[in-house]
Every structure is written in structure tokens, then in C-alpha cells.
Symmetry: D3
Subunit: 239 residues, 6 copies
């Protein structure tokens, strides 16, 4: 059955992926993340303004914004941010916050902007993977400059999509699969193998516990490969 | 460990719940759903206007809106709809659509409005449970009037929250538990025991596969009790 | 001519009306007010934030919001607040402020939310009647808790609609009458028999001074019955 | 007591008022109306677009917009339209529609724009008085051009403010009186002496039926003077 | 070729223009400026609120707003402010700021509102010419009252439109020419003959350097006539 | 004097610039344009929807949108589009339309999106230069596919900024110069050496005709180098 994937991958195979660090130079951290044809520019910007509920605390904050550039799809995507975009940026923000110690970060705020340059499925999970790298570099630079005293990164953070297509559980769906999947599931995990978020939706038909288990197995294997890559990369500090 | 729940329930015990059908009389279907102190007024309104992408098809559509009345919480909730509300109403809409055959529904549109009258945790899952009853009654009335020819309801639809509090998996969390939970998970299932949606989030710390399994077991047992109640109730058609 | 009212009432007869106190439990005051088929949930929420022009004074403030739930009418009402809603909530706010001594209330702000659950004419006047009860209970509770020192309620506040239908002045119009009335008039009065607000509009044709006088007589009689009921009810403090 | 008015007028005396027809030349009708220091530019613009509910009828429509120019007051007025502006423009629109036969007007739409150039109390009633003149001229010009066949103007329309200041009923209040009035009342009447609209509000204290009667007497007398002026003026058709 | 202008003017001839000072009385400065059929009401309002970036400085600020009244054109102009209006008000604000010494103005803010009462081409340049007079009068009054100590007006400020119509460069275009011009150019200059702003746009076809030079010559001559008039007028202080 | 430019360039020297065609693959045309540190991603998307005023014509349309990605600057840029963005996208749209024959383009609409990835001055002129290349490729692809019959590109289109810094006219200003310039001028020209648009603004002090001439000379020389590069590049059709 594996042979039937549109790009010839095995059901448990990730698309070719990469992280281009410092793709832009103005933000504190910047990564162009690629999963197959999907490309997302992630930048992390540090500033002093904290959200209202942290004004008098010593804790920091991490938030995210997500958008698709209009030309990222064959049919132009209007620029206005709607419910889907807000839902995705809340997911990215929660995921990244789960691996940051806000007390160690101290009273600064970091915004991770994820702008999809080319969309071919899995843009929200790519945003989390690339956003983590940009966030890590921004924090490292502020630690190097002595502006962050502690070591706020608790562990890595990565995400992948899984789904059920024609009854078969598959890993890392491009748009062609995603748009016809029976079930669509996004999973976020930590560097130590725990779950941060699971969002599974029956698109065409409901799914069983055993199908959920298959998807979780695929995701776990895919995410561990991504996290290995993140670790290798971040071993070298940014310049 | 069970004794420690604030309201004395067992970890696998639902709050007392009920459906008050036809709580209001103007909408095509109307249910006041109660889970403990949480109360949501669900109404289903039928109209002829279809969304743009269905204009020339013969299919129907089901959508949902969700809001909290300002006085539903001890601290007044401002009336403006934000990202959280949009995300919840998208979840309710997807869940209800999963159990409706749009071709059998025919070219009508049904809006299910879920207005939280009193909020004590689990408002989105209560909205799904009550919204299904209101939707069912609205469709039944239109079938009785000959305006819907087919039998569009495929199966029941219910939802419940589960979570991990102080390391223990618990079912149907009130606000007091929800606000301190390590993990928060909302699960939607069908009358035939399949999953429609799973949304699990690490609020305080990440969670393991075995914790996820425990939560899924609790949810499955709770949802089957709710669906039994829905079936009993809907056995009697609305007047 | 009296026999011609759609619900068989006399021209000077109120619909059956009631106040269900503490219909919800989270807000400081809460009343479900019913006039015939019209039902409005009124909640009063106290908070510390004062409007800008009172920031440095010791006076309090009372404001109101009004909305119709989408399922409150046979044809679904969209959720967005427009000119009509704003105009009504300004009327409710002015009316309630007219019976409150802001200095005795002290530096707190009370928002009275009026959400129409079922609409059959007279929703704005029902909101004033029910809003007064919710406001009174919220203030009483804060007086009992020692958070309000004075006795800010000066007198009762109630309102009713009157109109001219087929040339006859009638009291308390349901939707069926309201939608065909020649003249539509809303009158707000105090417990001591004075006028707070009069808003009369020629819908179909202009009206004479003597018709205005007839309407004022009907309103005065109707409002005094409502105020008697409010007094009876509020004689017993909330629990 | 009369001597105490800030501008020395008698209690039942109007401010000096005038209508400057065709103050601007682009709109179909245009009047600069003056009541004392209050000046409002009223223009009436005819177009073919009818509101949605009249699309397939042969009736016409009249609507109004109201705004204050930022420099119209000693303290600059921000340009954004809020609840007060919407409420006033609804009043102007209803008042003008009450004297127009929409069937005779035929399938055109007229917008009357009232822009306050200088504000010293009574801007909404001046807008109605001047708006009527602009509307009348626009309709006359379209009748002259054969584009309106019938005679849609049923009678004149004028309005004035009355109030209670220091316990005394007074006519046509400038800002200095309006801002300290106990009661504020706006009354709209037809050329044949009937009421179109009455809006009375207790600003500082509630008012009695007999005070209301006094205010109505003053308004009736003031409005009849304005209508006499309108008749004189409109006797001469626009050029 | 000159004979071909719709109003018979020579190519290098301004329309008849005038400034009516203190056309309204509430604002600190007010001018009704007229260029042919174009009429703009300009008011200047002084207040204490400075923009955020000047909060802790001793400098002042000048800003502008621009709008067209709905009845200013034969076809009614909707009231909402869009990109065109924002672009124009930014131009007016920049132009006026160029001739004001913000340190001498001191910590006050002046808003110049330009409301087009009648539109026949050249509304933005008329706004600059009239706005300067209103601004000058507002500042003079504050100097007379001792609230502005220095002499903040550095020089005069005026503007005019030039264009290429049927291949000929012309000065001060009314709507009839503007709407068919090949090139449209707005030029702002100071009382000492320097340029503040030049905005030239090829509407129908691109233009050469020599055509630009011709237009600049025309503008220079027209603006110097306007500035002479401004100087004459402002020689007499406002009363 | 030349030696004083922050990056050591001569006053009449462009920054190093390049066009990376097909930087993304989904849009009909896509170019990453670079001028020094400034980088803008331009995409051109073709669709069938024409603006309302062209619905029944056979002409096409070209429009543009412009935004800065939040991470494009050292201080994060909020995502909301304001007056500056609207003004810039109107300029880009006008400039590109000036070199397209809308009748030859036929009834299609092309949106050119310019998203600034890295901002160091001159983002609007870079957007025009890169937007032209993306637009050209999109049109060429539609001509190759037979969907555009004619040859709608009339000539090339490019733009550059010029300014006066410390009294010296300079070409192609980076942010460090732009932020301290006395005069800031953006010039758009065609491939045949004519002007499409000139926008010159006195930022710090007004400027003379001879300074304007110097800036125009610099711009003309810079733009001709850019157009040479565009011609070379576009000589090879896209694949």
C-alpha cells in the first residue's frame, strides 16, 4: 500500500526537511524551515513589553503569530487573518511555551513570527519545528550578551502531521494527501519524548482507538528524527 | 486519591447532567444543557441561505456559534468574540457536521448557537452535547413538516473533557480542577464508539502515551453514558 | 374593540409577567424576567474599574448592555451589535442610573447585561424592569458584605410599551401588535410616579396630543402594577 | 424667571433662525440651517440604489446621516461615529420618512446628510428642520426634471428641543442651558400639527406629567413658527 | 491652445480664489477656502495631548485630517475614510509641519481638519492653502493669550495642482480637466520659494523631464500669487 | 564628500542588487529582489475576478499589496496594515499599471504581492523593480499557455530612491541615510526613459529646483542600470 503515496514515500517516511539558520539578519533569530515543498520563514523578536498579566512579575513570555503570504499557494490567499490563523498561532505559542522556563527567561517577551512562503501541507507543524530553532537562537544571543541570565530552554520541541488516507495511517502529509485524508492529526512532542499537544480531527469519517495508536506511533518516530536534527544544529551556537 | 476531587466525585464519575428540551420556543430546536454548574443554551435555526461554496449544490450545511454571556462568570466576561470563541465554534461545527449526511439534509443551512449562561468548566463539550439535541429536534421538525425528505442524522454525537490533575487522570473537570490541571483534553465521539476529535494540551507539563490512554478510557466511558441519555430522550419526538 | 387583541387581553391589561431571581448563580445579581412570551436574562456584575471621567472621584457608575440571542426569534438574529442595540442599551443605562445615588454607591461600577432569550415585543422595557431587580440584588449583596456603605437605591424603576393599533391605544404590545402599530411608545417611570423617559414614534402615521395622553394613562397604570410586584419581591433580601 | 436665560430670551422664545438654500451646488438639495450659534449643513443626494428590502418594489426610501465636524466645538470632536451619532441619524431618518409618500417618490433613494459645522445645542432638531428643506428641494428638482412623477411630500416636518432648567420649562436650549437641564426633550411635528416623535429624558431628576405638558405646549408653539418659515421659503421653487 | 480650457482660462491662470477667515467661531482658527467651485472648510484645534513619541519632550506637533462631505460631489461620496483620504491627510500634515518650528510652538498639539464642502478638483492643495491660514490664526490667538511664547511660523505654505492635458501643461485643474489629464502633479512650496513636496503621477501616459520642468514653472508662478494673498491677509491679526 | 556614505559608496552608486527568479514555486511569477540588505519577496498571482468597474469590459487589471514581515526590522513591526502600507501599495500598483496594456492583457486580474523580508531602506522602490519581474513572468507563462493572446507589456518599469543628505544629493539610500535625510524622493521610470511617478518630500528642510534637478539626474542614471539588468534577465523566458 505504501507505494501509493503521491511522492513515492513509505507510509512512515518524512519528507526531506532542513533548517536554514539566519536566513534573514534583522531579527534576533531567523530560520527558513523546509519540509518538501512547504517553506516557512520563522523569526524570533525580543522586546521589553510584557503582556498585562505579567507587568509586575519577573517572568518572561513567548507568543507566536502565523500567516500565509498571499503568493504561497497556487490560488492566491487573501491577507486578512481569520479564525484558522488565530487557532494555529495559539497552537504554536502554547507549544513553544511548554519548553521554556519563564522564570529563567526573565522579564522579556519573545514573538515568534511564522510566515508561510510556500504551502504544501504541514505548515503549522513546520512552523513549530522552525520556530523552535529561531527561538533558541534568539535566546542564545541574549544569553551571550548577558541579557538573559538563566538557561530557559528546557528541552526541544517539534511537531508533525499524521493522518489516515484510504484507510492507511501515513506520516507527514503533503497537500495532495491532506486534502483527501479521512483523519488529520497534528502532534507536538518534547525532546524527552512526551506529548505537548495532540489535535486529531475526523475530516471524512470517524476513527477508532487503534487507528489513533497507529498515528501516534508514526508521529513519535518522525518527531524523534526532527529533534535529532535540531540537536545537531543547535549544538553550534549562532554567530 | 479519588476523595480529593473538590466536589467529592470519583475520578471516573460525570457531574450530574441534564437536557431541558424546548427551553425556548422561537428557534427550530432549543436545549438548555447542564453539567453540574455549567449551563449552556443551545438553539438550532434553519434557513435557506447556504455558504458560497454550496450555492449550486444540493447539499446542506451545519455551522455553530459559541459565546459566553457576560454574566456567566464571577468576573464579567466582555462581549467581544476573540480567538478562543472562534476556535471553540469551529470545533462544535466540525463535530456536529461529522454526524450529519449533508446530501440527505438537502439544500438548507442550520446554525447551532451555543450561549453559555453559566460557566464552570467544560462549556465547549456541553455545547456539543446540547447542540446535538437541538440540531436533532430542528431536523426532526423539518422532516415532520416534509421539508427534509431524507434521514440526515447518522449517529449521536457527544463530548467530554478529561485531564490530569495532580498526576491523576480525571473525568469532566469543573473550573476549579481545569484551572490547575497539568493536562487538558477534550474528546468528541460518535454514538457508535468512534472518535471525531481529540484535542489534548499540556497546560503545566507534558504527558506520556500511557497518561493519554488513561484519559481516553475515562472519556469513552463518560461519553457512552451521555449518548445513552441522548438516545432515551430523542426516542420521543419533539411536539 | 378590546376583543380584537390577538391574545384576547383588554386594551389596558398587561401580559402575565414574572421575575425569576437568581436564575443564574455566578453574577452578583441575576433575574429572568418574563412578559408573556418575551424573556430576558438580566445579570448585574460589579467591578472596580470606573469609566475615565470618574477615575479620581468617589462616585460609582451603572451601565447596561443589551443583545438578542440569535435563537430568540423565529428568523435567526445575527450576533453583531448595531445601531438599534446601542440605542437600546443607552436607554436602559440612563433609566437605571436615574434611580441610583452615585455618591452612595461609591467608587464601583455595575454593568447590567440584558440578553434576550425569547423575543415577542417589549424586550427593552422588560430589560429595564428585570435589570432593576438584578441591580438591586447586586447592590444589596454588596451592602450586606459591607462593600457598599450607603443606600444607593432611590426608588424603583420600571418601563412598559404602549401604542396605537388600529386607532386604539393599547398597553404592553406583543410582536404581532408592535409590527402593525401606528404609534410605538416606550415609557420609563420611577417608584414615586414620575417620568424618567418617554420615547414615542409615529411608525405609520403621526399622532395627536390626546392620543399621547391616552398612552401615558395606560403606561402609568401598567407601570404601577409592575412596581408593586418589584416592591413585594425585593422586600425579601437575596440569599 | 425669564430674565435668567443666558441669552436674555423669554422662556417661550426661539433663537433667531434661518435657512440658506443652495449653500452648496453639487448635491440635489442643500441648506445651511442656523439656530443661534448652531449651524448645520444639510444636503440631499438622490441615487438609484435602494435598500435590499425594497429591491423588487416600486417604493422609494429616505435615509439620513449625521456627524459633527471636528472643529464644530471648542474642544475638538473626534471623527469616529459612535452610538450617539447613529441614534441621532435614525431619529432624523424616521422623522423625514414620516412626511414622504414612498409610493409617490417612486424607486429612488435619497440620503440626507447633516454635518454640524458649529454646535451650540439643538443640532439634531436643526438637522431635521434643515434636512426637510434640502429634501424638499431635491424632490422638487427631480419632479421638475420629470424623474419623480407624483407629489411625495405629504406635509412639512420640523423639530425643536425643550427642557426644564432650574424648574422652569424653556424652549430651544443652547449648550449652556442644555448641559445643566433637569429634563431634555426633543419633539418632532408635522405641518398639520401632529406629533411624529417625542423623546424626553430625565437628565438630573425625574419629571411629572404636568411638566411634560408644559414642554409640549412650548414645543408646539415653536414648531409652528418654524413651519411657517419653511412654507414661505418653499413656496418659491429652487432655481 | 489656451482657449480650449473648459472655463476659458489661460494655461497659466489660477481659478478665482479666496479665504474667508473665521467662517466658524468655535475652533481656534477657521477658514473657508475657495478655488473656483472647490470649497474646503479648514479648522485648527489646539489641545494639550501630544503624540506618544513627544510625551516627554518640550516640542509641539501639527497633524491634519481630510474628508469629503457626502454631498460635496454630484454623486454622493460615502463617509468612510479609505486609503485615498489617509494619503491626502498625511500630505497636508507633512506640508504644514514643514513651516512650523516645533520647539517654538512648545508642548501643544494642533489638528487641522479639512472638510471638503464642494469638490471640483484641487481639494488637497486648497486644503493646504486654507489649512495654513487656519493654523496661523490658531497660533496667533495662542500667542496673544500668552500660551505660545515663541514665534513658530517659519514661512508661508501653499500648494497647487498642475497637469498635462492633451499634451499641454496647465495650472490649477478643475475636475473636468483632472479626470482626463495625462499627468497629474501636486506641488507644495514655502513662502521663500523652496519646494516642500512634489507628487507627480502619470495617469494616462508617462512624461518627460521637460514636461516636468514646464509644470514646475507653472506651479511656482501660481503658488507665489497665493502666498502674496496669504501674506496680505495674515498681516491683520484675527480678532 | 563621497567618502562619507556609511557603506563607502559614491554618491551616484547603486547598492549591489539582484533578482532571484522563481524563488517560490506556487505563484504564477515570483522574484526575491535584493538591494544591499533590503530584500523583498514579490509574487504575481493571476485570477479571473475583476474589480467591479471592469466586470463587463474586456480589459484586465493589475493591483499590488505591500507589507513588511514583522521580523524584517531590528525592532519588530506589528502586522496590521496602516496608512503608510496603503499609500505604498497604491504607488506600486499605479507604477506597474503604467507599463501594461490592459486591453492586450484581457479579462484577467493580476495581484502583485510585495512582502518585505528584510528592510534597510528603499523597500518600495525595490518592490516596484522586483514586482515588475514577477509580473512579467506571470504574464509570459499565461501567454505561453495561450491564456493571454496579446503582448501586454509595453516597456520595463523600475524605481529608485534619491535624497539629499547633509546637503549632498545621493542615490539609493539605506536606512541609515534615509532616516537622517533632508529630502527623500522616490522616482519611477519606464524602459524608454520617461517618468511614471515622482514623489519628493522635504523631511528636514525644503529644497530648491536645482537640488531637485540633481536628484533627477542621479535617479535617471540608477534606473537605467536596473532596467538593463531587467532586460537581460527577461530575455530568457521562465521555465
Amino acid at each position: 500500500m505504501i507505494a501509493s503515496r503521491p511522492d513515492g514515500r513509505a507510509a512512515d517516511e518524512l519528507r526531506s526537511f532542513s533548517f536554514e539558520r539566519d536566513f534573514t539578519k534583522m531579527a534576533d533569530g531567523s530560520t527558513l524551515v523546509t519540509f518538501g515543498q512547504t517553506r516557512v520563514l520563522c523569526t524570533a523578536s525580543v522586546n521589553k513589553d510584557l503582556p498585562p498579566w505579567l507587568r509586575n512579575s519577573k517572568e518572561g513570555w513567548v507568543t507566536a503569530e502565523y500567516s500565509m503570504l498571499p503568493g504561497s499557494s497556487p490560488e492566491r490567499v487573501p491577507r486578512r487573518s481569520g479564525g484558522r490563523e488565530k487557532e494555529i498561532q495559539r497552537l504554536i505559542g502554547r507549544s513553544l511555551r511548554a519548553v521554556v522556563d519563564m522564570t529563567a527567561l526573565g522579564p522579556i517577551s519573545i514573538t515568534v513570527d511564522c510566515d508561510v512562503i510556500q504551502a504544501d501541507g504541514g505548515t503549522r507543524t513546520a512552523s513549530i519545528c522552525g520556530g523552535f530553532v529561531a527561538l533558541h537562537d534568539a535566546i542564545t544571543r541574549h544569553r551571550q550578551a548577558g541579557q538573559v541570565k538563566g538557561d530557559p530552554i528546557l528541552t526541544e520541541c517539534a511537531a508533525i502531521s499524521v493522518g489516515v488516507v484510504d484507510g492507511i495511517a501515513v506520516l507527514d502529509l503533503p497537500y495532495a494527501e491532506d486534502s483527501t485524508a479521512d483523519v488529520d492529526c497534528n502532534i507536538v512532542m518534547t525532546g524527552d519524548g512526551n506529548l505537548i499537544e495532540i489535535q486529531g480531527t475526523a475530516e471524512e469519517q470517524s476513527f477508532s482507538r487503534s487507528q489513533l495508536d497507529e498515528m501516534l506511533d508514526l508521529a513519535q518516530s518522525g518527531i524523534s528524527q526532527i529533534i535529532t536534527r535540531q540537536k545537531d544544529l543547535l549544538n553550534t551556537p549562532p554567530t
